[in-house]
Subunit: 563 residues, 2 copies
């Protein structure tokens, strides 16, 4: 049986447009020879609509949308089987969730007027997920909402994303109480189809595949998998699609993640070997960030970006990504030297702009800076403290970038990285201005790695930008390392403190060999800074998420904290 996995790029809440997109993709799949066309989780409404799901008018609109889609499919593709994701109000027979919800996260199977609904059992609420806020799990519904579905002579077991995350453990126990796949196997399913909405993680793609391999092996059934493609706010979906057999062998694979259909033969038994791709992780990271930027802009009605170019590595990398997302004619750089800026800052910004073929504006902040200082003279006759004055310059740059954003109807990009965001080494309403922080989930070392990777293909970022010591240039001869530990040490520590949430003491143990002079006091001060700068991050731009623990909605720390 030929099955099309469609990593579709839909718009959250755009009921009408998403139906059209689905019909268009089915048409393409049919031309490729598909008998069954499979879309990802909640494909009809997009992932995730969040509290839109709580609106009283949601259920009726979701049902109307599905009805429209059903009748179009029945008319246009009477012989084709289709699986889509939908959030539907369904009669709750036997509610078991702790608190009753009015919706279910569904897979809807349609073929020749036939309609079957299957419901998600395992609802994640870790990281960015809040599904138990909205959905009632499968056990609450009657038997008509479970069991395999017969399609062209094959018994399909449909599972939804987390339903396959059954092999995870905590305290030596499986974290989930049900294994929907095991039940589907008992009921005679010959193949599992997992429709997903799984956020991109530079390191997760292999991890996610391993999860699916483990799930396939646990029940000895093949699994076909399809994820969303495209970005929704901070979350990027990579459009992954593949087929493993019940022994965990790869039978079909979508290597290039571009949102196009993967056609697979469900009866295939011969494993394939994946092509080895050099720098695959950096390549997907770049592609994901570009996708995240492009979708954020387009889906919010913007076609231009503006950003400050300091001559440093962070803004250079963001400019490269921005150009790849929207094209050089739609990216505008601004050089905003202060009295502390070195001549190389401007030169490097100019060289970068020339390499990228983007327009560069020059707006020095010296004059506004001294005017504001003068205005504050009556209140503070002894002059401004160092921090006040540094923030002032950063904020005058922020104001300038935002003025360009308003004038050009462009989105401002914040150029801060994860190391800075973690340490609060950034100015609220200054360099933190912007709609999106494209590299806010990249530690400084990842920024260098990605910049070098991009430069390998084509020399875009000036050499000096990569080799010089990072500096905010807000006071004479300032470099980052005056205020921060050396980046290799800092980044290694941050990864343990943030990603793994280790204590400073546990972090010290892990790092002792690599950094023999490291002491607990430094790690404790790093942790204090992470904790103390929570308030800045609470007002930060959308940080494109590319790791398991990004700053944003998946990491919920209190601002006021004494832990």
């Amino acid at each position: 049986m030929r099955l099309a996995l469609v990593p579709v790029n839909v718009k959250v809440g755009d009921f009408a447009a998403n139906v059209k997109t689905h019909l268009h993709e089915i048409e393409k799949a049919v031309k490729l020879g598909a008998e069954l066309v499979v879309f990802p989780e909640l494909s009809l409404i997009g992932y995730s609509p969040q509290d839109l799901l709580l609106r009283p008018d949601f259920p009726a609109r979701a049902e109307a949308q599905l009805k429209e889609f059903e009748s179009s499919v029945a008319k246009q593709f009477p012989n084709i089987a289709v699986i889509v994701g939908a959030a539907l109000p369904l009669p709750v027979a036997n509610a078991t969730g702790p608190t009753l919800k009015s919706l279910a996260n569904c897979a809807v199977f349609l073929q020749g007027g036939r309609k079957e609904i299957r419901i998600k059992t395992l609802l994640p609420f870790y990281d960015v997920f809040m599904e138990s806020r909205y959905f009632e799990p499968a056990p609450s519904f009657g038997p008509e909402y479970s069991g395999p579905i017969e399609c062209n002579g094959k018994k399909l077991g449909i599972v939804i994303c987390e339903d396959s995350w059954t092999e995870q453990t905590l305290l030596d126990r499986k974290i989930h109480n049900h294994n929907p796949s095991a039940k589907l196997k008992e009921q005679g399913s010959e193949v599992l189809i997992n429709i997903s909405a799984s956020p991109f993680d530079a390191k997760k793609k292999p991890a996610r595949r391993q999860t699916i391999i483990d799930a396939a092996r646990a029940v000895g059934l093949p699994i076909a998998y399809v994820n969303h493609f495209g970005a929704q706010d901070e979350i990027i979906f990579d459009g992954d699609a593949f087929l493993y057999d019940g022994a965990g062998e790869l039978l079909a694979n979508k290597q290039e993640l571009n949102g196009e259909i993967l056609l697979i033969d469900l009866d295939r038994t011969k494993p394939i070997t994946e092509k080895k791709i050099a720098n695959l992780e950096l390549q997907s990271l770049e592609a994901a960030l570009v996708l995240g930027l492009r979708d954020y802009a387009k889906k919010n009605g913007f076609s231009r970006f503006v950003l400050g170019l300091s001559g440093g590595i962070d803004s250079a990398l963001v400019a490269c990504l921005a150009v790849r997302a929207l094209g050089p004619e739609n990216v505008f750089g601004i050089a905003m030297p202060s009295k502390f800026s070195s001549s190389h800052s401007i030169e490097d910004a100019e060289e970068l702009a020339a390499n990228l073929k983007i327009k560069l504006f020059h707006v020095p902040i010296k004059m506004p800076h001294s005017t504001v200082q003068m205005g504050l003279k009556s209140a503070f006759p002894d002059g401004l403290q160092g921090l006040t004055d540094e923030n002032l310059q950063s904020r005058l740059r922020g104001i300038t970038v935002m003025a360009f954003a308003n004038q050009l109807e462009a989105l401002a990009l914040a150029t801060g990285n994860k190391s800075e965001l973690a340490m609060g080494y950034s100015t609220l309403y200054g360099d933190l201005c912007g709609a999106v922080a494209p590299i806010g989930d990249l530690y400084k070392r990842d920024v260098y790695a990605l910049a070098s990777f991009i430069n390998q293909a084509r020399h875009l970022i000036p050499e000096r930008t990569i080799t010089k010591a990072p500096s905010a240039e807000l006071r004479p001869n300032q470099v980052d390392q005056d205020s921060l530990p050396p980046y290799p040490l800092l980044d290694a520590a941050l990864e343990l403190l943030i990603e793994q949430e280790l204590s400073p003491a546990a972090t010290l143990t892990k790092l002792a060999r690599e950094f023999p002079n490291l002491d607990l006091t430094l790690l404790e001060s790093i942790e204090r800074k992470i904790r103390f700068s929570e308030y800045k991050r609470s007002q930060a731009p959308v940080v494109l998420k590319v790791s398991a623990k990004a700053f944003g909605s998946g990491r919920r720390y209190p601002i006021t904290s004494f832990f």
Copy 2:
């Protein structure tokens, strides 16, 4: 039996300090003659530590803290019974939650070396609550963690907050699958004790009491209730405490919500009558906002506030609240006239500052404004668009306020109200600058009501501030009503669109009688503006929550949305 309900004000994550606070309160309660001292939900760690609960070092520290507390209680108060709230790792016997968690939300009973643990059954996952992200519910644990506790001859049934929210319904069904109180009654409980962490809501106090009355009546048992006192980030706890009998009659009541102990006699049977207090709702609203401001500052290590004073009603009200929170000597106003400011703006700001006895600085933004305009001339020779220029002025004020915040080590207060925040009628990095938005959950009509209420007691806010038409004064003769519908109509519509999440059509139906000329187009445009300004709110300051649907962590709408 004499029972002390202690609405304690603890610090999230401050294990050591909270133990001291508890011991100190027990001492006070004992002096009042208490035999049993009851603290609120999660009292030992504070509500809510959020993802601190996921840290690998949390469980051991929570157990060590409890051990320390236990031994102090046993030593210092050998005859006194104590109930505290704690988050503890416990052996999971029979996990039933959809995904296994490593912690339980517990009530710990201690008396003369005896220790009993009871576990929360109903874990809320709506509004600001995310308890199923962290906790395993009661049914997952053995019988030793349930059932009544014998104390001085009385059988106590202990429930935790949501455990009493059993009478709520959805789709004509009870939303919760268990009623812990009913089981406790079966097992012989004579009285229920509810330890809570329930956010303040100007309209919720009666609603919350009704919920508890319904729960008491449903099982025919008296309920003693105690809530936290104090604020944690956006959430304010009012310190409510009371006793109802099984028929829903009030037997004891804490009328003034000040964090002090309520001593009750559990054997009392005679109902009391509540004193009628005029303007109770506005009085508690003011007290809650003052508490929220004071605790945010103090718990984050600040003792000063700074804010821009425009002569308008919003900043005037915020100044009054700030003065009540930290005293006039710790509040600093800044008048920042632009070339569009009217003379009355300055006069009104001066009169307010004089009435409040706070220091007022004058920092005109005319000069910086024209300097920045000049700097942008080369990029935009035709001058700046209206919106760009308006935002510029607002942002120069933001920069100024932040410079004062840095210089004075003060927290900047944002003065925007809920109507503005809803409509995006505010400038990101401009008037949205600040650590806290004290009136960000008050519609404009509530701002007027609270301002008038405050002025009744003492004339603080200048008359003209209350009577003149609201204006941002960012262009000549501008008033809010140029850009916004009249506030009475707008606020009525916003309440239905936001609080009740009605569609524009449903809103029209509800408002048709009061506003006969209202049409759907206007409501649709209001809704679009709410939706479109989600990005601004995602970078807004902490909004003190005083309603059921505040902007903040309890309302999770996507920025990118086509609904």
